[in-house]
Symmetry: C2
Subunit: 373 residues, 2 copies
């Protein structure tokens, strides 16, 4: 029997051209471009195009892609009714997962080919902000906001969430958050999308798997958990470092720290930290940023742990006025760009992903009839 | 960089006590019991109990488990409306995936613990036959059939599908089909459920991933594809062996053959072959069995390939009068027993499943502004 590789840590499962995490240097590239170049420069649509096609779009290509997304942004009325009716009390990630799964009913079963993935992917990517914004507003007892065709993806999402066109700064912050979360190697949600695609199942199935996987507290759920921690800290009136010490003493995990790959501060967190400071200042609640920064310093000193992408995305979204239950859906609305790129790459020269287990149970038990038990 | 393990073939990802595939001997055990003992003796409920608890139930334990399932069999009216309304034209596996995902809205977010998995699992396992039967009947323009509380799981499913209580023989055949498909090591759908659970996401998410993964043609979709092949053969009027030869010459894959693990005839296929012969005879259509058997012999001689579980499940379900589009959902209705057992096992001492990729793309591209492209 081969050696046990629990959690597949360090196991190389495929070749990929989509993104690379340089764990030692704290660097992340998408298709060869450093996120430090992309974050201040690229729109989310440009980033998705890059991830899907391996090169930055020309002006004409970008315009065509933006138009496709805009045309697909509205939901079929039955899906809108589902999201704002039976799913209204559901966890926002459960609502998003269910609605994306249901979208498959409106598209002929897409072919398990790279082209089929991008076609279905455009539909899914376009509609995810509409689903999440409608769900958030329904939870608040508000009607959905019609998509504004003059806005790009980040702007349209912010507008559908709040009913107001975002300020230039809020627009920039949302754009950068979406660009920074768009891909990250073979993380668990991306890997689950690839496992699903590897049976030659369809792209709706693969993205549905990924949304459910991202929901977990060890993955996308962590940004919501960071905000819960910050709120608990705020309510306690404690010093941030004392609060963090108390959590560690109680055996609790502090969300927003540590990563299977990085040995430095997550390069995405560097950008988000700046946004957190700026936006929390602007809303007159600088303590969300300050407490986070104090916990960052403490965790490095005490545990040698660096912040990951989730630590400062929480206070950034707080600065944008977004309800904490929707932080993980924002991650999904961005990461779907990467999921689709990976599903397309998986279909291209597909090999079924099927590992083994080491069986450690009984092997020769004898059946006993129910009457003898 | 570690060695590339494409498709994770032979990679051991975890220890497990749930089931073991003996590839060389062609043997399959669930929690220590050989399926050759379980198939003729166990009900599906006994099998699920065994997979979930590691031992066969006493009479009292089985009765309590059966009662829990019976009580949970009916769907919330909104889910029934979803399945028979907006999802009616969807692929049966897309409908099942969406409905199971939507069920999460009716259960408080279950804890990512073994106990939480079994609790949510009972709800999901109980309702999957109701979902699939209602979808099939809605596609035929028929109303759903209320669950009959006097019938066990296999019987209730057959009754809800057809509106008639199954004969003793049809009941036995459905029971054995469900028992035989209930678990099979770290197959792709089970693995996807474990990847999803490994982020500490919930059980509804994990099963939703698994359904989407099972849908693919390289996994659960194969049994439907076997029937499509048999129907095409029938329509062609060709000799079965000539037809199979033609498919191979055209570079087509013949579904129902080969397996990543078995080097013999799949032990489940041994049982299903007997059912196929008996049931096809009884409906006066013995050719479904005979053609399958002829192709089995040809494939062993020509390609050295043995039949897997899908080859004879197709004609078995045909003998039971079931529409071929619903063969894969039957697989899911059975395999959910295994998925839940694996999700519970994953939560117990969980480790995030996150592999690596070998990056083979560009690393140092320079950003160009859109106006320069």
């Amino acid at each position: 029997m081969a050696q046990l590789k629990e959690g597949l840590a360090g196991v190389v499962v495929a070749q990929s051209k989509i993104s690379k995490v340089f764990g030692e240097e704290g660097r992340l590239i998408y298709q060869g471009y450093d996120i430090d170049d992309l974050a201040p420069n690229a729109t989310f649509e440009e980033t998705a195009y890059l991830l899907w096609n391996g090169e930055l779009p020309t002006q004409k290509e970008l315009q065509a892609f933006q138009q496709q997304i805009q045309e697909k942004r509205s939901l079929p009325s039955e899906i809108m009714n589902l999201v704002t009716g039976p799913l209204v009390e559901a966890h926002p990630m459960a609502a998003l997962r269910t609605a994306v799964s249901a979208l498959a009913a409106y598209s002929p079963d897409p072919a398990p080919t790279p082209q089929g993935a991008l076609q279905a992917g455009t539909d899914i990517l376009a509609k995810m902000p509409t689903i999440t914004a409608a769900h958030q507003r329904a939870q608040q007892g508000k009607d959905p906001v019609e998509p504004d065709e003059d806005l790009d993806h980040a702007g349209a999402f912010a507008h559908m969430l709040t009913g107001e066109r975002p300020t230039e700064e809020a627009h920039d912050a949302m754009t950068q958050a979406l660009v920074l979360h768009a891909d990250h190697g073979f993380n668990a949600s991306t890997f689950s999308a690839r496992v699903t695609a590897s049976t030659l199942s369809d792209t709706y199935s693969a993205v549905t798997s990924a949304i459910g996987t991202l929901k977990g507290g060890l993955h996308g759920g962590a940004n919501t958990n960071v905000m819960k921690m910050l709120e608990a800290l705020d309510a306690s009136g404690e010093d941030p470092v004392d609060h963090a010490k108390g959590l560690l003493e109680d055996g609790e995990k502090i969300p927003g720290f540590g990563h299977r790959v990085y040995r430095t501060m997550d390069p995405r967190a560097v950008h988000l930290k700046q946004w957190s400071q700026k936006l929390c200042d602007q809303i007159g609640e600088p303590h969300w940023y300050e407490h986070t920064a104090a916990i960052q310093d403490f965790m490095l000193e005490e545990k040698g742990l660096h912040p990951n992408v989730d630590l400062y995305s929480a206070s950034t979204y707080r600065g944008l006025g977004i309800d904490k239950a929707y932080y993980t859906p924002i991650f999904a609305i961005s990461r779907v760009a990467g999921w689709i790129a990976h599903v397309a790459e998986q279909y291209d020269g597909n090999k079924l992903i099927r590992p083994r287990a080491e069986y450690v149970g009984e092997t020769d038990l004898t059946w006993e009839d129910l009457s003898d038990r």
